[in-house]
Symmetry: C3
Subunit: 136 residues, 3 copies
Amino acid sequence: MYREELHISTEHEMQMVDITDMVEEVVRRSGIKEGIVNIFVPGSTGAITTIEYEPGLLHDLPAALERVAPSQAYYKHEERWHDGNGRSHVKASIIGPEITVPFENGRLMLGTWQQIVFIECDVRARKRKIIVTVMG
Amino acid sequence: MYREELHISTEHEMQMVDITDMVEEVVRRSGIKEGIVNIFVPGSTGAITTIEYEPGLLHDLPAALERVAPSQAYYKHEERWHDGNGRSHVKASIIGPEITVPFENGRLMLGTWQQIVFIECDVRARKRKIIVTVMG
Amino acid sequence: MYREELHISTEHEMQMVDITDMVEEVVRRSGIKEGIVNIFVPGSTGAITTIEYEPGLLHDLPAALERVAPSQAYYKHEERWHDGNGRSHVKASIIGPEITVPFENGRLMLGTWQQIVFIECDVRARKRKIIVTVMG
């Protein structure tokens, strides 16, 4: 088992950050050749998934999540914190905070057009920690 | 590897149960210091994710899932079982039945406002088993 | 650790393939008795989850995802590839490309009415590889 933390900064709501290379670097540094790697965000307004990282989808996925958790809807979460990010929590819980990916010879076994992304669901710029755990 | 089963009871549709402390207790009893823990619900109308466990979001997440799988929609699942829980299956498959969380020194590496929840998607009270597998 | 690749063919958009038996066969061939198994699809238009595999839900889950990513919506992804599958990427990223399931005595610890499915989110027939990693 080997673990590292990644640190990234986000600038705006629904920004997606391609963290594939950073995760693969952790796998290489681990020295473990075969296994699985878990990528987890501590925090309830961030999410992890995979996507083809190209500009069109960086617009399309947020547009779809807006249908599920519209900006203009009323969120009871507002009554607690008054920070306008009820929709952020909802989206993050639906996408989920983690993904587990297999690797072989130190390389992630992703598809050619498949990248690992962190999605900033919160409504403001954030500094984010992501925990990468390599098991093999 | 260490495994325990959690047993909980739910009372109503879209009830969310904070199972964070129960999971952390299993991790402590395992004696394993560093690793990952997988939390899995056997059953196709329950789901596992993380959320900030506060009363507002316990309303907001179900409201969002109602947009995806409305109570008033017709479900072909009804033709098989006539138990009115087509929407339950749909929500559970979208959220997913499991989550994998890293831990360190026997503590889950969650965010301060992030809890692990079981979501009862079924339309009636249920007794639920949740399988917690500690790897390290 | 033990790994195998599954190979399946899909014929149409939103086809769901029950891969439970194939995954359990890999677990048996691994010779590992207790642990977790990760099922991962390389590719950004396929998804993995669990569902009760019966004809009604094979219609109901796609109907719900159509609410999130409608066929008739405009997708900016179209500007890159002109292949009409923007909705496919969106659905696959929301469901996610992997699931991790516990097993015991070589048997998956699923519910009675819970199967592991590959969901073909793409708009055409595809040949698909699925990576099954057994850890224990």
